[in-house]
């Protein structure tokens, strides 16, 4: 009886390890600093996680499809700069700036998808190169200048980042709605099923008549769409942006996705798990700040989290923690 209990508890730990770790962490930090679970603080964390979260939704598709997207950080800078610049351009204005920015960002995603899906190039190389290339593109576009909206009271553009509806901040609302929508696309549609098949075993997908290139291409389009949405929130929240606003976000996004339990080998993961991963990352970073550590500690912590998450994932698959290359 007791043994069966231990076993089932162990089983829950193995399957829901991330959630359990999250709860332990939350309780621990609450003892450290009770402000941690203050309603205001919790909502603050969720609100500040929205941009990262929206990006992570798209990257989840790419990762389940068996690829990586390291270009999302500089793509975010690009979309924020572009939308702000077009907003200030009298020929566009906010109503045209937004669709124009989406179109341009989707083009970048299409380039990723074309190179990886149709030319079958390695996704790590392609998107790492794009990280650098898009950064250059952004600087070329902006001439190195930061972008600001001059007359902030004369535009409704701040609604995406600063507005709220039904008492919920708009960024959180966008994150939640997009997560629900993409969660359904991934879990319930034929396309979602194909993403899992292509990432799980590409050869078997080909043998099943699945157009692999198109599926991979579409995962990058989805990723770019999410980045554009995140860029819109970012630009609208600060009503201005630096050329480097998204720098380093690609690793945080990846950390959140892995933390949620998507395998870097492809074929596993869900949108729900990614949302959990995003929140865990957000709360950890918040907890560290409340504990009085400097913000740059989080760069180190992000790395530690990636390593821990990958290690635990592999360890549950292998059934042991210690497994040197033999």
């Amino acid at each position: 009886m007791a043994e069966a209990m231990v076993k089932s508890v162990g089983g829950v730990l193995a399957r829901q390890g991330i959630l359990v770790a999250f709860l332990v962490f939350m309780i621990g930090f609450t003892f450290w600093n009770p402000r941690f679970i203050d309603i205001d603080n919790v909502f603050g964390v969720i609100r500040s996680s929205a941009i990262l979260g929206v990006m992570a939704l798209g990257v989840t598709f790419v990762v389940i499809g068996g690829n990586l997207d390291l270009s999302v950080g500089s793509m975010l800078s690009f979309s924020a700069i572009v939308v702000l610049d077009l907003h200030e351009n009298p020929a566009f204005g906010p109503a045209l700036a937004i669709p124009a920015m989406f179109a341009m960002t989707l083009c970048l995603g299409a380039l990723n998808g074309f190179l990886i899906g149709y030319l079958r190039l390695n996704s790590l190389i392609v998107t790492l190169g794009m990280l650098s290339a898009i950064h250059g593109l952004t600087l070329t576009y902006s001439g190195g200048q930061n972008m600001d909206i001059a007359n902030q009271s004369a535009t409704w553009f701040d609604v995406f980042g600063r507005g709220s509806a039904l008492g919920i901040p708009v960024p959180v609302l966008i994150f939640a709605l997009l997560a629900a929508f993409l969660g359904i696309v991934l879990a319930k549609t034929p396309f979602g099923r194909k993403v899992y098949a292509v990432g799980g075993n590409g050869t078997a997908a080909t043998f099943s008549g699945i157009p692999r290139a198109r599926v991979v291409f579409l995962t990058y389009i989805i990723s770019a769409f999410c980045v554009a949405t995140a860029g819109l929130i970012q630009a609208s929240r600060t009503m201005g942006a630096q050329n480097t606003v998204g720098q380093g976000l690609e690793l945080e996004v990846l950390a959140a996705v892995i933390l949620g339990g998507a395998s870097l080998l492809g074929g596993s993961g869900t949108i729900f798990k990614t949302v959990i991963g995003v929140l865990i990352l957000g709360f950890i970073q918040n907890g560290l700040l409340l504990a009085g550590l400097e913000f740059y500690v989080q760069f180190v912590v992000t790395w530690v989290i990636i390593i821990l998450a990958v290690w635990l994932d592999i360890a549950t698959k292998r059934g042991k923690l210690w497994s040197p290359i033999a």
Partner: protein, 502 residues
């Protein structure tokens, strides 16, 4: 023989995994100078037992004795130190290093300042290679060797330590007949030196040629040990599966229907040339030939995975062009590929999703996958093919080989094909599931499917086919009916020996 101290003795080994009792109190003994066969279907527990012996798994219960001394195998290194060596089916050599470096990897002889003592290394290695009478030397790069010779390198590695027991796991899987002879000589040598040998193989012919005793596992439990000289194939098969395997020739007369598929002068570069054949509804057409004769390539061309350089394909009398699997599928061609794990299944997906994968876009309720319809399809093929899985939610990778193959067959049957091509239908599948799949293929033909079976196993081709196409070097050399084919004529046809003008 009974007074000898056993080289290796296992006693009451139990190993459980979540939900499975993989080994249920297995005991057996290998004497020095004995070749002891370990047999059993896939999933019977052979590889788990070997992993316990090799220190990869720790047993839950039971003891391991080496030369009657109780030993705990905590790691593969430990196993090696205790004189238990493995010759694996899958080779684990560094392709870029020399033979000598591979053999002594991790324990290269040293000179001062940690420099490698190359002369000693090469001399020692050559001494061992001499014993094996191989045609390469210590300095040869492993990547330049044939698979058979790479296997000899693995064997040479086993000879560097004072081995008490050597385990050969399907050692002849990739060897030619001539190479097998060399391997058997080596085994005989080891045997003469008093090493205990465990020989794992499915091939009866080798078992009877090489071994002294045979131990059989079934469903993780030990079924008994037979003296090779006093037993026969039937008895062993009985022990392994509880009944015998029917591989009699097929003389069933079938009612064939219209021509389902006709191929005219189909060529694909140097892979195969001028293939002309047809298959009718209600018959099984067997393709037989050596590996590399072009059989699989023809199948892949028909399925749109390769572009033909010339030739024509007719389905039900109408010429079709097939340039992708999607077009093949929509034209009613299904292919059960030769490599179930790499090509047939998404191992991490559940059974239902695997079966419905090719038609997932068509199974829709609005924008969503109609999961109810999917479950219905799974249930239908689970019953029809007797798939044994806990439920449709079971992950395909956790099923046995036979059940995995049934999932792949179910996946393609559910597409209602005109022509079903099955490449190596029973590769790596245990004897019990084999005969089930053979019966199934016959049954499908009776139901009016046009079935093409590609196989490297002659008894299988003879057992299931109504007609047999023999291939050699990319060309169809002859076509036989089930009535006229003999083993000799078939062998001649696939070896490029022209028989009497037929």
């Amino acid at each position: 023989m009974t007074e000898l101290t056993p080289a290796l003795r296992l006693e009451g080994i139990v190993k459980t995994f979540p939900g499975v009792r993989a080994l249920d109190g297995v005991s057996f003994t290998v004497l020095p100078g004995e070749v002891h066969a370990l047999m059993g279907e896939n999933g019977a527990g052979k590889s788990t037992l070997m992993k316990v012996l090799g220190g990869i798994y720790q047993p839950d219960e039971g003891k391991i004795f080496i030369a009657e001394r109780e030993t705990v195998m905590i790691s593969p290194l430990e196993a090696k130190a205790k004189g238990v060596m493995f010759i694996h089916q899958e080779l684990s050599l560094a392709q870029e290093l020399s033979v000598a470096e591979n053999i002594y990897l991790g324990e290269l002889p040293r000179k001062s300042f940690g420099r490698v003592d190359w002369k000693t290394l090469f001399d020692r290695t050559d001494a061992i290679l001499d014993k094996l009478k191989v045609g390469f030397n210590a300095r040869t790069r492993v990547g330049d060797l044939s698979i058979a010779n790479q296997q000899m390198v693995e064997i040479a590695r086993a000879l560097t330590v004072d081995a008490k027991a050597v385990i050969f796991d399907e050692p002849t899987a990739s060897l030619t007949d001539a190479e097998k002879v060399v391997l058997f000589d080596v085994i005989a040598d080891l045997k003469a030196q008093g090493v205990g040998i465990i020989y794992i193989s499915h091939r009866m012919e080798e078992i009877f040629r090489m071994t002294d005793r045979i131990s059989v596992l079934r469903d993780g439990s030990y079924r008994g040990t037979l003296e090779t000289a006093k037993t026969n194939e039937d008895e062993i098969t009985q022990m392994m599966i509880g009944r015998s395997l029917d591989l009699t020739r097929n003389f069933e007369h079938v009612q064939t229907g219209d021509v389902a598929l006709r191929v005219e002068d189909l060529s694909c570069g140097h892979l195969f040339q001028n293939a002309t054949f047809e298959v009718r509804q209600g018959e099984v057409l067997g393709f037989y030939g050596l590996v590399g004769a072009g059989r699989t390539e023809i199948a892949e061309t028909l399925f749109g995975l390769r572009k033909p350089t010339s030739g024509r394909i007719f389905l039900k009398g109408k010429e079709v062009r097939i340039s992708s699997p999607i077009e093949a599928i929509s034209n009613g061609i299904s292919l059960v590929p030769e490599d179930r794990k790499a090509q047939g299944l998404v191992l991490g997906m559940n059974c239902r999703d695997n079966i419905t994968l090719p038609q997932v876009s068509d199974l829709r309720a609005g924008p969503f996958v109609a999961e109810g319809a999917e479950v219905a399809i799974y249930d239908q093929y689970r019953d029809r093919l007797a798939i044994k899985a806990p439920s449709w939610r079971a992950i395909a990778g956790n099923l046995s080989g036979g059940n995995q193959q049934k999932i792949v067959i179910g996946k393609w049957l559910s597409m209602q094909p005109e022509v079903l091509i099955v490449d190596e239908p029973t590769r790596g599948i245990d004897v019990g599931s084999k005969s089930e799949i053979h019966n199934l293929l016959r049954e499908l033909a009776k139901q009016g499917y046009a079935v093409i079976v590609i196989s490297s196993e002659m008894p299988e081709v003879l057992h299931v086919s109504d007609r047999i196409v023999a291939m050699y070097h990319g060309e169809i050399t002859r076509e036989f009916t089930a009535e006229e084919v003999t083993e000799d004529s078939l062998i001649q046809a696939i070896s490029g020996i022209s028989g009497d003008a037929a």
